[in-house]
Amino acid sequence: MSFYGLVDGSDSSLRNYLKQLPGVDQVGAEARAAMLATRSIKTTSKAWAIDTAISMVDLTTLEGADTPGKVQALCSKAFRPDPTDLTVPHVGAVCVYNDMVGIARQHLDSIGALQLPVAAVSTAFPSGRASMAVKLQDTEDAIVAGAAEIDMVIDRGAFLSGRLIEVFEEIVAIREVCGDRAHLKVILETGELVTLDNVRKASYLAMLAGADFIKTSTGKVAPAATAPVVLVMLEAVRDFYDLTKVRIGVKPAGGIRTTKDAIKQLVLVNETAGPEWLNPSLFRIGASALLNDLLMQRMKMSDGYYASPNYVTID
């Protein structure tokens, strides 16, 4: 098999490819991310950024306590974030555990949200500690139940111990299950990879193996979507596009709770990968609490004052 003509799927070709990637200077990457965090986004650009961010949210619930009722409420919220203002765009997707996919899909269809995709976390999320057979079946189940997007986790243990080809082959196998039926987001769990060099290597590994998106985190490990990590991943998709003319998406997830956080992410995208990525098909933000803060700030911009939290619906 040929993976963009860059590696041939063998251990040695993958290893050689990842080895020749330039290193990441952590101090420099942190400084760049910190500088971009000083961008001041006000008035019309803030209004634009808020709506753009809303349309990029993967509205997520990944709790052991999730119930059909909870998931249905989330779906309603995802489709009409502010029931009093229908100019608010719907979010990018609803992200749930595997067994909730069917419930979410049915509910979305029943309220007319036919185009709003359901994303399922898959491959023994969040740890990825299961047999390959289980991971494949997990993915198949989700797609059959109506998931249009699969958020899989990589085997961080294999990555850290240098068994890169195992990580690669796992992604390739899940990619095959997805086929044309579902988009594949690959969660690197950067909080466990720790170094930015690892983040860059894992990003390329996932892209070569067929990821449509690379995603920072499960949300279960801290730190999650830090600015330097997202910066390095955006550089990776930008440079990968130069090599292949294929645009891979990026999804930061975990720890993005405020409008300010979200706007910082959009600035990172704008000034790193470029405006082409400022699109829900190429950039998503995995979040739960974020949406309500975006809605609060949106109301503030139109009304000129902060409304009581009771004016924003809970989900």
Partner: protein
């Protein structure tokens, strides 16, 4: 989708600019005999009228400084001197926004830099030297000797407040009194600093500020009552000063020009290197004596680095310096802009490849788009002369030895940068480079604890750190 950043200007309302200023001599404002305009280089708007210091004004300032030195300041304990410096540092922090906005108005630099670099570093210099004032005997300098007495200080327009801090803080910490002349085009933050001295209760005559042009500077350099001259500016003027001071008993330190080599090895972390190149030459519009104005790239990665550099340069936001999102502000003066244009025209005439970022420049004021020249050789003027603007000359090399040879092949020797992921390579290159400041995998980083100064025609002496203290004590190393 296009993410346009709406205007986000910092408010001007925090600063109060008088229509006209005098000199600050012996703790009081003294009217000038004639005045000249100081303008905002981003708009050409006249901000105020600055007094043109005469020989008589300089003489009055020197007498005040001498009187205060003899009668009180030299007798004060280090702890007392430190107390004043701490006060000044704290007031500068409290009035940081005022200083930042005023600096940006008068100099043209982006508010992001005056706010995040110039003003905090200036305060840091006062804090650092405040700490040394009562601990000089532990600084490794010769404390058996006294301070010089009256120090004449002449500073440039590129970092008006920061250069003031570099000069005034060590002079006061070691017990000298000061006659300072800010640059002709950027006097306003020095005059605000005079107000801070008053606010801090600094004794009259310790800091005297005489504004003016080259003639005022010359009056300071040639005044017989001054014991030491400290100058930051061009190598050309530095040489004139050295000649003037040579037959006298005055001590002298000089911080002069540079043509910093930024060397990128094939194994560098490319994205961060590109950031470092940008920071090295486009920080402060390239009005930086230690700017990394010569990029020396290993041929094996030259194309990749240049492509990424151009893409990054297209993201540099040029415009209103008061806008919080501006990366590159205005050129400080029409004169400097003419000099940049002259040298870049020479670069084109000599056959180097010119590329400028695609940015709209404002109609009024003095502007120059971020520019690089490729295919530059050692024989080009733009590889040899200091441009002091947002213009980068790109040279390439094949072997490490060639990189060092090119880097050192200049009459200057202020700064250099090394980009490599290999520690041994960095250590080796550092030992070969003839430059006073060498950065590895970073550029334009400053800290009051770190001595700064040049080899060869880039200067005499060091500023900052313990080395910088000794320049203000008699008998210590020059």
């Amino acid at each position: 989708m296009n993410f346009e950043y709406a205007a986000a200007p910092e408010s001007r309302s925090v600063v109060k600019i008088d229509p006209e200023y005098g000199h600050f001599i012996n703790g009081k404002w003294v009217n000038g005999s004639s005045h000249f305009n100081t303008i905002n280089p981003a708009t050409e708007e006249v901000l105020s009228r600055i007094a043109l210091g005469t020989a008589a004004d300089v003489d009055a300032a020197v007498k005040a400084a001498r009187n205060t030195f003899d009668k009180s300041w030299s007798k004060l304990s280090g702890r007392e001197r430190g107390k004043y410096l701490f006060r000044i540092a704290r007031i500068m922090q409290e009035r940081a926004r005022e200083f930042a906005v005023l600096e940006t108005l008068d100099n043209g630099k982006p508010i992001r830099e005056s706010r995040d670099v110039d003003v905090p570093l200036s305060a840091a210099h006062f804090f650092y030297h405040a700490g040394w004032a009562d601990k000089l005997e532990y600084a490794g300098v010769d404390t058996t000797t006294a301070p010089h007495g009256v120090v004449g200080q002449i500073i440039p327009w590129n970092f008006p407040l920061l250069m003031l801090a570099w000069k005034v803080a060590p002079a006061l910490a070691t017990g000298n009194t000061v006659v300072l002349k800010p640059a002709e085009t950027t006097s306003l933050t020095a005059l605000l600093f005079a107000q801070v001295c008053q606010q801090a209760g600094l004794p009259d005559g310790v800091v005297n500020i005489v504004t003016g042009d080259g003639s005022t500077g010359s009056a300071i350099v040639n005044h017989p009552g001054i014991d030491k001259i400290a100058f930051t500016g061009s190598t050309e003027v530095g040489k004139l000063i050295a000649r003037a001071v040579a037959p006298t008993n005055k001590s002298l330190t000089l911080e002069l020009g540079g043509k910093g080599a930024n060397i990128v090895f094939g194994d560098a972390a490319i994205d961060e290197t590109v950031e470092g190149i940008v920071n090295g030459i486009f920080f402060n519009q390239g009005h930086v004596c230690c700017a990394g104005s010569r990029l020396i790239l290993q041929e094996s990665i030259a194309d990749e680095v240049l492509e990424k550099l151009k893409r990054r340069m297209d993201k540099i936001r040029v415009g209103d310096p008061l806008d919080k999102n501006t990366d590159l502000g205005a050129i400080n003066s029409a004169e400097q802009l003419a000099k940049i244009r002259e040298l870049t025209a020479a670069g084109e005439a000599e056959g180097a490849g010119r590329w400028s970022s695609n940015c709209a420049l404002p109609e009024n004021g003095f502007w120059f788009a971020p520019t690089i020249f490729t295919g530059v050789t050692q024989a080009h003027r733009i590889a040899r002369e200091e441009i002091f603007g947002p213009v980068l000359s790109v040279l390439t090399f094949r072997t490490p030895a060639e990189a060092i040879e090119k880097a050192n092949n200049t009459p200057f020797g202020l700064s250099a940068g090394i980009w490599s992921e290999k520690g041994s390579n960095i250590l080796w290159a550092t030992q070969q480079l003839r430059a006073g400041v060498i950065w590895a995998n970073t550029f334009n980083k400053f800290d009051p604890a770190s001595p700064f100064g040049g080899y060869k025609e880039s200067g005499w002496g060091r500023e900052g750190g313990r080395h910088g203290l000794s320049a203000y004590l008699k008998g210590s190393a020059k």
